[in-house]
Amino acid sequence: MKLIPSAALLSAFIVASGMAQAETTLSVLIDNNPETIAAFDALTAAYTAANPDVTFDIEQRAGGAEGDNLVKTRLATGEMADVFAYNSGSLFQALNPSETLADLSDIQGNVIDSFKPVVTSPDGVVRGIPFGAAMGGGIYYNRNIYAELGLSVPKTWAEFMANNEKIKAAGKVAVAQTYGDTWTSQLFVLADFYNVQSAVPNFAADYTANAIKYATTPAAVQGFQNLEDVFKGGYLNEDFGVAKFDEGMRMVALGEAAHYPMLTFGIGTVKQNYPDNVNDIGFFAQPGTDAAKNGLTVWMPMAAYVPATSPNLDEAKKFLSFVASVEGCNTMIGAIGATGPYLIEGCELPTDVPASVADMLPYFQTEGMTAPALEFLSPIKGPALEQITVEVGSGIRPAAEAAALYDQDVEKQAKQLGLPNW
C-alpha cells in the first residue's frame, strides 16, 4: 500500500519534468533456493543494465506444498507478482493456467520444442518459458568414499544395496535422508519412473485414463519398496526424520554420508556452501532391476510465468523474452554454472562442468537413456505423496500399502482437475 503514494508522486514528478521515459518496476516472486536467487539476481541486474528504465522488486517464497499454496492463492486473488517462477508439468496444470496465466507463445523463438508441452495449458496455448536447467533425478554419491572402499557405480538396485551394506560395514552412513523437508522424501519413488516406463511403456497414459494403478503394478510399487529397503537396512543418518535438504547435500559433499537421492539442481547448493567439495560428488541414475536398461528420469526445468492480471504485461514479456534468449541463458550459466542442459536453442554448456553434471550428460547424449518424470507426462500428482513417502521411509507404513494409499490420494487430484474416467 505504501507504494501507491510514492508511485503517484513519482509519476507527478515525471510529468512535471517532462520526461518521456516511463519507469517500470516489475515485481518478481521466486522460490528461496539459493540457486534460483543467484540466477534471478544476475538476470535482473543484466536486464536493468541494458534497460535502465526497468527495475525489479524480488520477493522470495518457500518451496514444496507451502509454496504451492502461496502461488495458487496469490494467483486466485489477483495479487501475483508480474513475473513468477514455478514448476512446469502437473503442478503447472493445477494452477488453472488457461485462466490465470498470460499467453507467452510469441516469445518462444529460442525455446526447445520438448519443453513447450509441459507449459501448455489445456486450451493449447504456451504459457511459460524455461527457467534454469533440465535436471536428472537420481542418486548423488561421495566419490571419496567410493574410492576408499573400492566401490563402483551400481547399475542395478541389488548392486546399490550391496554397496550400502559395505559402506555400513565400514561404519559410515550409507544413505542420507532428509524428511525434515518432506518433499525430499519422494525421490526414490519419482526418480524410479524411467524403470517403471521401461517395464510398462504405456504407464503414463493409462494412469491418466484411470486404467492402471500404482498398487497393482509391481514396477511402480518398487519405488516405494526402495524407500522401505534403505530404512530396514539401517543405512540412514540418525537424524533422517528432521534433517533438511541443505544438510543432505552437506552430508554427501563432505563424506558424512555416501549417497543422497536428489534432483541434480542440488549441486548448486554445494557450490554456494562448500565450493571446495563440488567435485567430491558424483551422480548416477536410480538403478532398476536390469543393468542393460539403466537410464535417467529427467525433470524439466521450472518455468517463468506472467499472471494474466499483471498490469505490466508487456514489460514482463520483454523481460522473459530476454530470459529465454541465448544471452539470458549465458547470464544464468555465468551466475550459477550449468547443472544440466538448458532448453534454449544455441545455448552451449561450458566445458568445465562439475563432476556430477559430467556424470549426468552422457544419459542425455544417448537416445533412449532418459525418460521424463511422470509429472511431465500426466497432469495428476497426488498432494500427499510426500507424507506417504516419509511414512514408508520411516518404517511407519509398508510399501504395498503406501502404493494403495497413494492411488486413493491421486483420485482426489484427478477429480479436482475434472478428468474423464475418474
Binding site: D68, E99, G241, P383, S394, K412, K415
Partner: protein
C-alpha cells in the same frame, strides 16, 4: 424469570452490531456451507452435493486425524486445568518472589506460537537438541521427540501445555481471589487439614474458573493448528495430524471445496462437544 419485558431501546440501536455480525460472521458461515458442497478452484464452482463430505470421510488420514484431535484436546486441556490450579494455589500462597514467579509462569503465553514452535523444534532435535544433549549427560539416549511417530503428538502437546498453562493459572488466580477467606477460617476451626481444605473448599468454590479453563482449553485443543504446523507439520507422515492440519493440507493442495467441507465438520464437532459440556457445567454450578 418473569415474562419478557420490552426493551426500552428502539431496535435500530442494534443495527451497527447486526451489520458487523452479518457481514463478518453470518454471511461467511452460510457461504461456507454452500462452498462445502461444490468443487471449487477459487474461480468457478461446480455443485456436487454431498460428494466432498463423502470424500472427506473416506480420507484415510481423517480417522487418525480425528483420534489425534481428541487425544490432543483432552491431554492439553486436562494438563492445563490440573497444573493451572496447582500453580495458582502455589502462587497465591504467599511464597517468596510470588509476583516474579507469576510473571514467569505467564510469560510463555505472550510469546508468538510460531517462535515457540521453532525454538522447541531446535531443542527437541534428536542429535543436536539441548534436551537430548542434557539427557546424554545422565546416560539416557533421548528419543527423536518430533519425528518418532509414537511420540510426536505428545511432544507437541507438551509444548502446547508449556505455552498455555500460564493463562489457566491466571484465570485460577482470579478464581481463588474470589473465594472469601471466611470459608477457610471456618474449615480450620472445624479442624480441616490443608488437603481437606483444598478438596472441600478450594475445588468446589473455584468451579466457575474451572468451567472457563476447561472450555477455553478444550476449544483451543480441538482447533489447534499453529503449534503443530510450526513443529511437525502433522508428521512424520500423518502421525501428528489433527483435523485442522488435515483441512489445511486440503487447502494447500487446492481442494478448496473439500477443505471447506472439513471446516464445517470441525465446526460441528466443536459444537457437539462444547455445548453439552457447558450445559452440564452450568447445571452443576446452580446445584452447588
Amino acid at each position: 424469570m418473569t415474562a419478557k419485558r420490552r426493551s426500552p431501546y428502539p431496535y435500530w440501536f442494534v443495527l451497527p452490531a447486526a451489520v458487523v455480525f452479518t457481514v463478518l460472521f453470518l454471511v461467511p458461515t452460510i457461504a461456507s456451507f454452500w462452498f462445502s458442497m461444490t468443487r471449487w478452484d477459487l474461480f468457478q464452482t461446480e455443485f456436487i452435493g454431498w460428494d466432498n463430505y463423502r470424500q472427506f470421510f473416506k480420507e484415510p488420514f481423517l480417522v487418525q486425524g480425528l483420534t489425534n484431535t481428541l487425544i490432543y484436546a483432552v491431554v492439553t486441556s486436562g494438563a492445563k486445568t490440573i497444573l493451572g490450579l496447582l500453580l495458582a494455589v502455589l502462587l497465591t500462597s504467599g511464597i517468596l518472589w510470588q509476583g516474579f514467579l507469576r510473571s514467569v509462569v505467564f510469560f510463555p503465553v505472550l510469546v508468538s506460537t510460531i517462535g515457540v514452535g521453532i525454538t522447541f523444534a531446535a531443542l527437541m532435535h534428536p542429535t543436536k537438541g539441548a534436551i537430548n544433549i542434557a539427557l546424554s549427560y545422565v546416560g539416557i539416549d533421548g528419543p527423536s521427540w518430533l519425528s518418532d511417530p509414537t511420540l510426536a503428538l505428545y511432544s507437541v502437546a507438551f509444548i502446547d501445555i508449556w505455552k498455555g498453562v500460564g493463562l489457566a493459572t491466571l484465570i485460577y488466580i482470579a478464581g481463588l481471589a474470589a473465594i472469601s477467606p471466611e470459608y477457610y477460617e471456618a474449615a480450620r476451626i472445624d479442624g480441616a487439614t490443608r488437603s481437606q481444605q483444598f478438596w472441600r473448599v478450594t475445588v468446589p468454590l473455584v468451579q466457575p474458573a474451572t468451567v472457563t479453563v476447561v472450555t477455553l482449553s478444550l476449544i483451543g485443543g480441538l482447533r489447534s493448528f499453529d503449534i503443530i504446523w510450526a513443529t511437525t507439520k502433522g508428521g512424520p507422515g500423518f502421525a501428528s495430524d489433527v483435523l485442522a492440519s488435515v483441512i489445511y493440507k486440503q487447502y494447500q493442495a487446492g481442494f478448496y471445496g473439500l477443505a471447506t467441507a472439513g471446516n464445517v465438520i470441525l465446526f460441528l464437532l466443536i459444537a457437539i462437544i462444547i455445548l453439552p459440556l457447558t450445559w452440564w457445567f452450568n447445571k452443576r454450578e446452580v446445584d452447588l
